[in-house]
Amino acid sequence: MKAILVRPNFDDATRYTFAFAEEILERCRQAEIDVVELAEGEAVKSRVEEELKKGADLFIFYDHGDEDCLVGQDGQPVIDLSNCNWLAGKDVYTLACLSAKKLGVEVWRQKGKYWGYTEVVGFTTDALPEFKRSFNCGFTYLFIERVPHGTALDKARETFDKLATALVSEGKIMAAIYMRKNRESLVAYNAEGPTSGNGGCLLGLLKLPFQYVAARLKETRLK
């Protein structure tokens, strides 16, 4: 398996996520995944596209995102709706905020598998090891244990829950609150189609061809 790991590092938040991604690199080596790292100055659109052109099975992105893009070192998208065809048929694993909302759906429509978040991701500095574990656990389930996306998502949610409970008992309440929130916005869009429990049900509705829905509405009106 060939992977591309992109990890910019340009503000306070990315300083932490950059460090979180170090463990992903180690996991790749452990699983004998051939990984190309695009860090800091190399985490820009031109380099990302250059590496994607060479071919990869897995695209890992540890940094900021928005509903329709993943943001690079220069503050510009490295992947957005205009070039996400590069991720067609690939596995995508990211902790970027919001990106599962639109970008993830588009990648999934193009037969990709997308592990990401539909809302803004939060973390606190009093629970960095716990947040690292939560952000990285899905990678272990998917690419080390090699379980299906639905199973990996269930296991990851269980991990988030356990971490949140442990954080409460340690008095790290804000950390627990954002662990719980992140858990809820974590999704795994599976290329094999939405199934209950893998966070894909609602996306299944979105996948319905627009023309089909429009035609049905027209039919209803005509009746």
Binding site: D11, D12, A13, Y16, H64, C97, L98, V120, V121, G122, F123, T124, T125, D126, D161, A164, T165, V168, I173, M174, A176, I177, Y178, R180, K181, E184
Partner: protein, 79 residues
């Protein structure tokens, strides 16, 4: 909404204690970062952020009760 006021007061008190115990503590929300003091200020003005924290505090409380129920059931062999 007396209970909401009680919860908010508790959250603000918690953040005050956090600020004293860990002055470098920060909450990161995407690109934004907030110290305990900044978060306290925001919670007094930003209804959306308060609603979010309240929502997930409620969810955590529900989780804890569910976990408690599971534990009781498994301890008494009634699951």
């Amino acid at each position: 909404m007396g209970d909401e006021k009680v919860l908010k007061a508790a959250v603000l008190r918690y953040l005050e204690a956090k600020e004293k115990a860990e002055p470098d503590w920060k909450l990161f929300l995407g690109k934004e970062s907030l110290t305990a003091s900044q978060l306290r200020e925001r919670l007094n003005k930003d209804k959306k952020l308060w609603k979010e924290i309240r929502q997930w505090a409620d969810a955590l409380a529900v989780d804890m009760f569910n976990e408690g129920s599971k534990k009781i059931e498994s301890d008494s062999g009634t699951s």
